[in-house]
Structure formats: C-alpha cells, structure tokens
Subunit: 247 residues, 6 copies
C-alpha cells in the first residue's frame, strides 16, 4: 500500500520531518510517497493561502492518484480536504481532522497547542469545520510569533509544555494536539513532561489513512459525485478527472 | 465609483446577463466593470470547483483592485469570498451572502429556489456558512436537472414559480431567493405570479456593494491581516499583494 | 422616496443627531421623515421598556405608512422590529440588525462597543436574535455608566477608542459597531484613531433601507400575514391596519 | 396566597374557562384573581399582537402586584413574560413556558398540539425562546382553521386526539402539550383516548406558580434590575414601578 | 401521596439533611420516604460513579415503586434519571434538572455554585443535558476542595456567598442554584446575604415532584416504552419490571 | 498487543460474529480477547438497559485491564464508554463512536442503517453524543421489528440495501454505517449492491483501537482523573481501581 503525503507548503524540510514520522508509523504496512508543493507559500497560515494551496492540492492528487491507495494532506488547516474528498475515489485524510477525530476518541475535550499566534484563528476555524467544536477548548499559543520556524519545536519546547499545562489546567482539556507541521514528532518526545494526553497530528493522519484503507470503503458505489465537466486552464490530469475521463 | 463584477464561471453570456441587472441597479451611482473567468468551468456546482475557481478569483481581484472601489463575486456559492475579504482592503460582496443578508432583513425565514438538484447541497452549505442557517428553510429545486442552462429562466419559469409556492406554503418561507447566475433578473419579472417576497441575488449584491462603499469602512486601520509572505508560482499582482508590496 | 425615521426614545436631540447622519447618507436619493416618540422613555435600555416602546412604534408606523416608502426603527435594540415587519407591507429596517448584517459583510467577526454597562445585555440579546450570534465577539462597554448621555460621544471618545481596541485585539473582532443612538455619527470621526473596521448603525440602517427599497420587494404577493382582527383600545390607524381595512 | 391570572386576550369566556382549571388546581393553597384584558384582541395569534398585548400585561401587573403573590400570564405565547420578569419583584409564570418546562420533566421530547394553523409559527417561536427547542418535536395542528373558537375543544376533540397520535407516532414525542387558551381543561378529559402523556398548560402554569412561590425566591437581593426611569404616557402604577417609586 | 427520596450516595447524614428540607416543603401534601444507597460511593462526583450509582437507582425504584407516587433522585448530577424515566410509569424528578427548570422560570440566566472544583465538570455536563445550556452561565466553585464534606455548608458559608456574588456580577446570572447534596437547605439561610435569586435544589425537586403528580400525567397511554426483555443477574423487582411483568 | 472485545449483551453468538470480524482486521497486529456479558440483556436497546449494562462494562474492564492494551465496547450504543474512558488508563473504543468518527473522515454526511425501529432513538442519541450530530442524516430502519435477531443480516439483506439507498438518495448521506451487533460483517458483503460508502462498526472499532494504541497516548501524565474513593458493593478489581490502588 502506498500513501501519498502532500505537504501543501513549499518548505522541503517540513516534508522531510513529517515523512520521518509517517514512515515510523506506517512501518511495513505502507510506503510513504512524499510530495512538496512546488507553488504556493513556505508556510500557509491564512484562509487566502489555503484557498490557493488547496487548489494546488487537487492538482497534485490528480497527478498521483493512480499510483497510490490513500492521500494525506499534511498541513494542519487541511487545505483542499473537502474538495478533494468530493472529487477523488480514494481515502483522503486531513492532518487536522485526523488529529481532532483521534483526540475525541482519547478524551472528552481537546485543545490545540501551537507555536505562533498567527495560526490561531485559522486552526480554530478548521476544528469547528470538523463539526466537533463543542468538545474543543480552544487554541493555546505564545503571545508573539517566533523569529524563525527552523527548530521551532526545540527552541520553544518549554513554552509548548507550559501551554499544554494551561490547556489542561485552565481550559479543562483532556487531550492536547500539538498542531502545525513544524511540530511534527514533538508529541511523543515531550509526553513525559507535559500533562494531558498528547497527540501528534502527522502520526494521527498516517494511522487514520491506514485505518480507512483497511476499512476498505466501497468507492465503486459512491454517489453524490460532482457532475462531469469540461474545464479551461487546469492541469492535464485534473482536467481528465473533472471531465470524468479518469477516476 | 467602480464595481468589479467577477463571474467565476467561464460562460460569457452569464456575465452579460448579470451585468445588465447590475447596471440597472447601479444606474448613475457606479460603473460596473465585468470580468469573466478565463480558467475554470462553464458553471461551478461543487466544492472542488469552488476551490479552484476561488483561487482564480483572488488572482482577478489582485489584477483589478487598484482600479475599482468594491468587488462583487457573481456566483451563488461565493467562491473565494472569505479568502478575498481577508486579503484585500476593499469591500468584497458575495452574491449568495448578499442575497441571504437582504432576505433576512425582509422577512424572518428565507428559502433558495434554483433550477437544478446538483446545486442544492453546495448552495445549502453556502447559506449555513453565512451563520444564518437557523432562518433558512432549505433549497427547493426541480427533481431533475435541465438539459441546458441556456434560457433556463424562461424554460422553467412556471416550475420555478411552483417551487417558490412550495417554499412559502410548505416550508414557511417569507422570502424566496432565486439562486444561481442563470436566474439573474428573473425575480422582478415573476414577482406578480409567485407568492412570498422574491430576491434577485445579483441585484442584492450590487445594492450591498453600493451600501458598503457608502458606509465607507476604514480599511486603513484594519487589523487581523494575513502575514506578508513570499510565494511561488502565483500571478504578479497577487504575489505582490501577498508579499505586502501592494494593497 | 421617503424614509420614516422613528426614534422610539422620547429625547428630541437624539432624533436630530440621527437625522443629520441619515440625511447625509440619503442625500438626493430619499427624504428623511423624522418622528420622535411622544410616549415612553428618554432612553430605552431594558426589555420591559422595549416591550412598551415597541407597541408605540407600531402605532407610529400605522399613522405614517401611507406617506412613506420604508421605515427605520432608530434605537439600537430594534424595539418592535419583528412585529412591524410581520404587520406592515413596506421595508422595515432596525438599526441594530442593519448594523449587524452590514458588519457581517465587512468582516468575519464583529463586536458592539457602547457607552454604558446597562445596555450590554439587551444589545447582546438583540444581536443573537438576528441569528448571527456565532460571529459576534460580544459587547465592550465602560465599567460604569456615564452621568449624562449628553455629549457622551465626545466625553467618552478616548474610552470608546480603547474599547474598540480591546474588541479587536482581545476578542478577535474584525468589525466594530458603535452601538446606541447617542453615538450616531461617531464611527467615521474616530475611524483613523481606532483599529478595526468601524460601523455607524444609523448610517447602516439608512443604507439598508435604501437598498431594500431599490430591491423592490413584491409585497403584493406576500403571504404569512397575520389574520385580520378586531381590536379594542388601539389608535385609529393601527386598528384599521390590524382589521385589514388598510395596508 | 393570591395568584393573578391575566388573560391577555379580551375574550371573557376564555378567562372563565382558565380560571375554573386554575381554581381546581390551586384548591385551598391559593386564591385565583382573574383579570381579562380590556384592550387588545379577542385572541392573540401573531407577534404584532403579542407586542401590543405584552405592553398591556405590564400595565395590568403594575396595577395588581401589591395585592398578589405571583402572576400567571394566561396566553400560550406568553406575551410580555420576559419584560415582566425583568421589571417586577414577584414570580411571573407564562402558560407556554410552564407547560414546556413541565413537559421536559415528564419525558424527553414534547410536542404542542393546537386547534389552528395560524398559531403554529408563533407557538413554535415561543418554545424555542425557552431554550428547550432541541427537545421539541414541533407543532401539530389541523390544516385549516376552525370557523369559530367557541366550543373548539369539543368540536375538534377527535381531530386533536388524532394530532396527538401523530405527534407521538410520527414525531417521537413522549409528552403532548394541548396548547392555546381555548383548550384549557381538555388534557385530562381526553387522557384515556390519546397516546402519550398529555399536559394542560393552564394547570401547569398554576402548579409552577405555586411551586415558585413556595421556593420563596429572595427578590430582596435581586440584581440586574432595569435602571429607574422617568416615562411619558404610561399608566400611573406602571410609571411608578419604572421610576423605582414602587416595587 | 408518598414521594420516594433516593439518595444515590451512601452517606446517611446527607439523606437526613435532604429529608428535612423535603418534609418542610411537602408538609401535609405528601409523605417523604427516604432511602440511602447501600452500594456505591459516599459522594458521587464523576461519570464513572454516576454510571454505577445510576444502575443502583433503577433497582431501588423497582423495589419501591408500588408503594410510592413519585420519585426524587436526590444527587445533583441526576444519576439514572433518563433511564428511570424511560422505564417506570410514575413521575421521576432529578434534583439538578428540577433546580435548573425552576431557575429558568425565575430569571433568564442561571449559575450553579458548589463547594468543590471536583464537581464542576460533571455538574456542567448535567446542566447541558437538560437542554438549557444556552441560559447557563457556568459553575462557580472554590479553587481547592474542602478537607471534609461534613458541615461544608457552614464552614464555607462566606465563600459560597462570594461565589454567588461573582456569578451574578461577573457572569450575569439572575438566579443562583446552590448545587450538591451537602448544601441542602442553605439557600434560604443565606438569601439575605447573597445577591441574585437563590434556589435550593432539594426544595425545587420536592416542589416539582408535587407539581408533576398534581398535573396527573396519563401514564396509561404512554408510548415509547422499552421492549419487554428477559435479563440475567438483576434484582427480582427490576427483572420483573424489565420483563413487563410489573409496571 | 491484546484488545479486549467486550460484548455488553449476553448473547454469545453475537460475540462470536464480532470476534470473527475483529480478528480478520487485527490479523497479526493484535490478539482479540472476547468477553460476553454474564449479566444483563440478550440485546440492549434502551437507555435503561444501557445504564445497567454500562455499569457491568466497568466491572469487566477492571477485571481484564492488566492483561490487555486497549478495550472495545462492542455494542452500537456504546454503554459505559464515557465512564470507562474517565476511569481507566488505556484506550477505550466504542463501536458507535468509532464508526461515526471513521464515517466522518470518509464523507461529509453519514447515516445509520439498522434492522429494527426499536433501536432508532437510542442510536440517534448516541450519535448526537459524539458531537457530530450536525453531519448525521438520521437513522433508517424497517417499520417493524424482525421476529428474531438470528440471521437478521441474511434475512433482511435486501431491506437493508434499500434502506441504504434511501439514506443516500433521500437524506443525502455519503456514508452509511450498518449499525448494531447483529449486522457485524455485513457491510463488505453488500458493498457492491448498496450505494454510498458502507462502514462496518466492529471493523471500524478494531481499526481505531489499533490506531489509538499505535498513537501511544501518554496516560502517565493524564489529568482530570476522578478522585480516589472508597466504595461499597462493587467487584474487587473495580473497587481497587476506584480507590486508586490499581490503575
């Protein structure tokens, strides 16, 4: 089995860090096929960027879908997730959604801890979009953004632990999701020092992709597909998918 | 004052029909600057298509914003609306949102009547996204899609009147929005034959754009803007806007 | 076109201040016909007062409806709005509702800033009644009430700017509505000094009345009207309207 | 103890029917003091009428409050309830709210059955206003209104039983509220013939008034009272209450 | 009439305190039949404990139902309430639910004040389960738990008054419920010293049991009963009830 | 790794059918340890039964937790799930919750199809309790209950396919959960004949248990545990767990 891991950000090092975690999780069960966005932004943090990056995600899936069994959209706000799920006939997993669904099975209320205030609103909207907003205790983040995203997990380690503590003690969270691609792999490392049950989103996404694949959804009889359409200016494969010439 | 009317569909004749309505409304108050999408789909009807068309909308606004005072996104599902509003410093109006907000000031509950079952779900999601879902009585549409969108307003005239009657009598709607670009201009024409208060979305959008402009929002002190960013592969103007070199 | 501007408070100077703003907005498009309540309270701030003043609003509309084209209920809590809209066959605009709907088209989340803690709860209920409570970040007001409402906009100018700043920075509002009749006209004056996008409710109400009029709702086929009824003890015109002898 | 039973409708025979039920319930525990509205409508069925009748209810309470221990607003849509509770320092019970709260303690979901389609929307809004809308299965009523309200409970007896059956079997209601003043006393009479647990609203209101009185709420330390105000054109007692000269 | 007062906790002194309050309320109208749980916990404060104690409550009701007319589940989180109401054909009142419903008829928003932070979450869930969460301002409790529950009402008297003050002044509560069996009888004692309208839950539960009994619900025609079932390992009476051999 | 599969029903054949599915899924990854309830009901279908069976589930987990790595509560209404998750320090998966969370990652709206109308309400409540009610299109079930649960999946095969068709075509579901223990293993068998994406709850539960285990939640630092307590009348192991003497 092959899992397409799409990093909708253009930063190669983030793809590598996330691929490392995904490979540890997938182990012998599946091969991870990483792809880094070639257009877009070093690090998506707004709805405008998600609108653009999400369109590129559809193009990437169209190009790779015949070679893979499932897709992971590996950015915390899940750009393009709803659109992709509507369009393609294979399991599509969003990193934020997978983390949220997993968290909701580990405890009753969950928080998202992240490294910068700029992500707070987009992440929050993203959680509400899953439909589980009533079990969400909010985003906890530092007051100011870090100067660089490089090594942010190491540099802010203690701050992130403190934020997790606040999420648990003040907000009543049972589970804390360490949100954002730059924090990939951090959760198990600080699990002993932080309160609550910590969730690593890329690990959760990989596990959910494996679970959904194994659950073997019968896409053959799927309904509610978009109408087939002609289009102008899209990539060759995406054009074919939307035209119904390729699924 | 100049209003940019973006038709995110690639069908030129829809742009023309909507421009006619918008010009009647704007009259001496503003000039309508119509633009038809050059990439995308003849008629958007799914989330996947809205993801792609919405990204193109951002590009179009970036190219024209220095020459206009406000923007109308002239497709009923408002592709790119949230992203555009976050990114640009001028009033952005969505055709569906404007119709919904207007309807909510004309009566207590409103319905959307449209010409095809394929739009039903996307339109419904779009209304819920405005936050006014609790006053929405649902979408009423024919059981089967028409063979062609050409002259759909004329061909289905009586069906649409009957659907409006059901929306009022069975669903309890006070106001009926005639949704979808191909129905532009129909509401005033059938107002005498249909029950309820009818709303024409493109008329509503034009009026709201004029109202917001006149309300003169102080974008200079706007906060909650996205961070400035470098990007790869976007159009020149959109790149500049996102980089903060142009607003 | 003539717009009836009803101040449901008995304070004549408030009517004058709001009429000045409304006339600037309406300009050549419509004549403003101001009416100040002759019974009721100097300044409504509770549900009990709104219950009484709202009944008087119906009486005032009944007396003037044949001479005007639309109605503005010019008090922030919109006393009598729902009842009036149900009863009369012309567009009825509430100052709070119009501000809220406009704010929701200018940004994603909005706040109400006002001059006294006594209004906080009534205003808050009023926003929730529009159905847009999920996009509302709450009311921001001074801890104590001012000694007098006279010149409250001038006297509290800096406090109100600070409250707007809190609404934006702490509550995450994109748009700030300057709520309450005594603040009529303040928003554009302080727009340069306050963060966020400021909305003046009486300006918003006038613009929405003009927009709804131009949208030309087809009241002739309106349904869901109350049954015609005899009544006892009401004013002559309201009695006739309710009896269905006059619309 | 004395309970003021205010019929906000002007129909004396309804007051008598409701007083009969209330007296049976109150028995030795309290004296029922019935008052029929002298202004207003024979039978309230719209928001406009409720706006007007609710203002009159405040006047009636102001005139009688010093002689009674609690108040029952005896019309199913509870006109003036929120306003009255805010203004006066004694327990105020609404007929609909009391029925809804009682129903919610007798089963999980409840329905309202009534005699005319004209009441359906107002009653429905009224239930949602209590906050218990999520447990409400809706209003069941005949398709057409009866010619007269006189003897409506007798004339429609079988129809009402059939509606209760639908509420239970089709909507999943556990409890059925027989809503509307003309149905006062009907619930126990048809209890053997109708499925579900039936609730008589005027009985529920009387019982809740007795319960709240006995619970002896400490109004002396009540806060969140409206500011004291001067007013123009109100009745003498209501003027004094609002001015804080009388509580 | 006889009211079964079940204390699902195993602490006899709590039963006695609650019985004293219930007897004062019931006076001549009903006899109180107190029962203390023989299995379970000294003081329930978690969902796990409520799961276990709630099952025991069903057993207790089955053993006593033929001798009583109504049941009070006398622990603030109402263990077993929904299950009991589904199973037995007599009025079942929960202490928390009765307090919440009564509070909602005395004011618009209500708070719960209690003596320990450990109860906060369970109580909060319990209020939301009634469906009235939108009118709930939250739980106010001390930062740390008391060393002993004995005399907790006396020992924490001033703290509880201060918490009530915060609930009213900071959270906007009109009514304050003194939650938890150890606070039985406290509300009327501190009514003069605390702001807001205070509610004693056991008094509210007794009053609601009397009201529901008097409302005389027609259980004979009740529907939506569970299927009759064989079972293994339950008490004799509960086995018979579930098998439909006894109601 | 060992997964405890608890069938809270007393019917051994159901345990066997579910164990077969779970073993196929778990394959080499984990050993399934099946346990059938020794007290309770042949097939749980009400809240009263869930209250009792849920308490027994806690006892079963307490007895086995030291020998297993995760727990599956294998009845569709998830009796005891919330309580168990609060009490024990290992992953606890509910069959309904796991199916719902999986469904929500496979499509936007999901339905539950089951074999009897008696389960409809309990299942529906159970879905709403997960927090994902807004994406739930409801339960579809036959109008009448089958005579026997034996071979119900085979006997009702065509009816269940038709119900799935209605869920997709009429209710707009993308995903259909085949709910209830007697339908274990049916989803993949009828996948080719039914529309939509089918989900087998016991397969989903097994997969989620494996995923959560692999996500390796750090229970060591878990907070929000219930207070340690003495108890009376519980099983030895459960007593020890609740007393904090064993985790």
């Amino acid at each position: 089995m092959r899992l397409l891991l799409i990093n909708p950000n253009t930063t190669q090092s983030m793809t590598e860090a996330m691929t490392t975690v995904a490979r540890q999780i997938a182990s012998q069960q599946a091969e991870i096929v990483p792809v880094t966005a070639r257009t877009g932004f070093p690090y998506i943090s707004s709805r405008a960027e998600a609108q653009i990056a999400g369109a590129a995600v559809l193009d990437t899936i169209a190009s790779h879908q015949s070679d893979v069994d499932a897709v992971i959209i590996a950015a915390f706000g899940d750009p393009g997730l709803t659109a992709a799920r509507e369009l393609f006939d294979l399991p599509i997993v969003g990193m934020a959604e997978a983390a949220v669904m997993s968290a909701a099975m580990l405890g009753e209320r969950f928080s998202v801890v992240t490294f910068s205030p700029h992500m707070s609103r987009w992440y929050s909207d993203c959680v509400h979009q899953t439909g589980l907003g009533a079990r969400f205790t909010g985003v906890r983040c530092p007051v100011t953004a870090p100067d660089t995203l490089e090594n942010v997990a190491t540099a802010l380690r203690q701050d992130l632990i403190d934020l997790a503590r606040d999420a648990v003690a003040l907000d009543g969270a049972d589970v804390v999701i360490m949100g954002g691609a730059p924090l990939a792999g951090l959760a198990p490392v600080i699990a002993w020092d932080a309160p609550g049950i910590l969730v690593d989103p890329i690990a959760a996404a990989t596990l959910q992709a494996l679970a959904l694949l194994r659950l073997a959804p019968s896409y053959d009889n799927r309904t509610n597909r978009p109408l087939h359409k002609t289009s102008t200016g899209l990539g060759t494969e995406l054009t074919a998918v939307i035209a119904g010439e390729k699924t």
